[in-house]
């Protein structure tokens, strides 16, 4: 497989685009692999990529029931940031952000990572104090964070609703300048191509329908393309984790599946070159502008458990209200599309990258609605866990038994109710 370059874009532009290879193969499943990852979302693909690249394991398959990147990986609002506060999360998300900063080069694939800053609006002195605490804590682990006063904010984003009569007048913002957005599809394609180049078999239209066990070992996976055996198996199926868990007869999980919607407007001329977050008095809203000009935004989950991958109307109203309240200039802009994905909401809002009750089964799940930014580090640490059969200290507490041990990682302080995290 030949590397991509500006030169090749130029040459192919002159020669009718005939000089490109397939980005990845479409192989037949082998009967046995060293490692099989279930789920070709961003986490599964990144895991396979780092297993091959960092750990030299090449006999790997990623099995996917649909097409790669067709799940949440290709449905999200693409926000990347590392402004988390709790130990474990802080180091993890900062490592992820560092990987993002070099990802296009590493993959030889333009993931269009744009560090346009993540700007959370502040509406009260108490919120500003909370932001100062969070950002000071973050800076201890080397993440960047700034408090912006009203003047700085107005200089950066002049057209927000700064009216003193607003229901929640804006008094400033907290900003993470290194945060931003990336192109989600390109991340899936880049990791898929990078993994495939190292010999990983990506098996699409290959649904896992059963997990065969012999005592505490998984012996193989029944799939729609035949039985596949593996020495080690990793689940990275996001909102479908409980289904796979039941196939392995492992009982319950501290996870509920909920759906989250995303929205995109008709394309506009350049309007917003930051990610803006509005969260006060029950509102929860985030917005950015894509490179095609569409306003990309989202809000809360739909509040009731669902596997339907189909959003409901009250949230459309919610986000429209939030949009027009902070950016009244969007009032007459038309909504182009909205869609939804099934989220693996955990009991404390934090993920699991851990071993399981079965010797050769590993779990990657519980991403709530923040798993896009996590993809590089998630793949990195999950690959390390699978290869070395022990967790890196950074993910030592991202285990299923943390609730029994009383070490919940609850960024929001919302308590054990999955729908309240995110």
């Amino acid at each position: 497989m030949k590397p991509y370059s500006a030169w090749k874009v130029f040459v192919n532009g002159l020669t009718g685009q005939k000089g490109w290879d397939r980005a990845w193969r479409d192989p037949e499943p082998k009967t046995e692999y060293d490692v099989v990852i279930v789920g070709a979302g961003l986490h599964g693909l990144a895991t396979a990529y780092y297993l091959a690249k960092n750990h030299g394991i090449k006999n790997i398959a990623v099995v996917e029931k649909g097409w790669l990147g067709g799940g949440n990986g290709g449905r999200n609002t693409t926000i990347v940031r590392s402004n988390y506060m709790l130990p474990g999360n802080r180091e993890f998300y900062e490592h992820s952000l560092k990987l993002w900063e070099n990802l296009s080069h590493d993959l030889n694939y333009n993931v269009m990572f744009s560090q346009r800053a993540h700007v959370t609006l502040l509406h009260s002195p108490a919120a500003r104090d909370g932001a100062a605490r969070r950002y000071n804590t973050m800076r201890l682990t080397g993440s960047d964070g700034e408090l912006w006063d009203l003047e700085t904010l107005k200089r950066n984003i002049p057209h927000l609703n700064y009216s003193a009569d607003a229901r929640f007048p804006i008094i400033g913002a907290m900003a993470q300048p290194r945060a931003g957005t990336a192109r989600h599809d390109a991340v899936a394609w880049g990791y898929a191509r990078g993994a495939d180049q190292q010999g990983v078999d990506i098996l699409q239209n290959c649904e896992v329908t059963g997990v065969a066990r012999n005592g505490s070992t998984v012996t193989g996976l029944q799939t729609s393309r035949g039985v596949i055996r593996a020495k080690k198996i990793g689940f990275a199926v996001a909102g479908n984790t409980s289904r796979l868990w039941r196939m392995a007869e492992l009982g319950k999980l501290p996870i509920e599946s909920h759906k989250l919607q995303a929205f995109v407007s008709e394309p506009l001329k350049p309007l917003l070159d930051h990610v803006v977050v509005f969260g006060v008095g029950g509102a929860h809203f985030y917005i950015s502008q894509s490179d095609k000009g569409g306003m990309v935004f989202g809000g809360d989950i739909d509040w009731y458990k669902s596997y339907a991958q189909r959003g409901n109307l009250p949230i459309v109203q919610d986000v429209a209200e939030c949009a027009t309240s902070i950016l009244p200039c969007l009032g007459r802009v038309r909504l182009l599309r909205h869609w939804s994905g099934v989220m693996d909401m955990s009991m404390d809002g934090s993920p699991f990258i851990c071993k399981t009750p079965l010797d050769n089964l590993y779990l990657n799940a519980g991403w709530n609605y923040g798993g896009f930014k996590a993809s590089p580090a998630s793949g990195w640490y999950f690959a390390d866990l699978i290869a070395n059969d022990r967790p890196d200290p950074v993910i030592a507490n991202h285990t299923l038994d943390r609730f029994a041990r009383g070490i919940n990682i609850d960024e929001r302080g919302a308590g054990p109710d999955p729908k309240l995290h995110g």
Binding site: S242, R243, G251, K252, L253, P254, I255, E256, S257, W303, Y304, K305, S306, Y307, A308, R310, N312, L313, P314, M347, F403, A404, P416, D417, P418, K419
Partner: protein
């Protein structure tokens, strides 16, 4: 919009209600073992299919109800008051028997 038939108020939009959670969870006695409590508070079946779940009619009668709903299609199969005693009384009344 889901339409939920509140046993007290009639059919209403789901946006009038607040979602509780899995109604099959049974909380153990206060002095039960820690592991029983961990199980009840944190562990979930997370069914893909028909489940019983609690909702509160927060912008109506404020009663808690149990809804039988398919989490794949959102189809609602039944609704009853969450409080067993009230459910019994309501049933009895519907059957024409005095609830007193």
């Amino acid at each position: 919009m889901l339409r939920i038939s509140c046993p007290f108020c009639g059919v209403r939009d789901h946006s009038e209600f607040s979602y509780g959670g899995d109604a099959s969870v049974e909380y153990p006695a206060l002095d039960a073992s820690e592991s029983e409590w961990v199980e009840a508070v944190f562990q979930r079946e997370n069914l893909d299919g028909v489940q019983f779940e609690t909702w509160q009619h927060i912008q109506g009668c404020r009663m808690w109800i149990v809804v039988e709903r398919d989490t794949r299609s959102h189809a609602i199969h039944s609704v009853r008051p969450a409080h067993e005693g009230i459910a019994r009384a309501l049933n009895a009344e519907q059957d024409g028997v005095s609830a007193s």
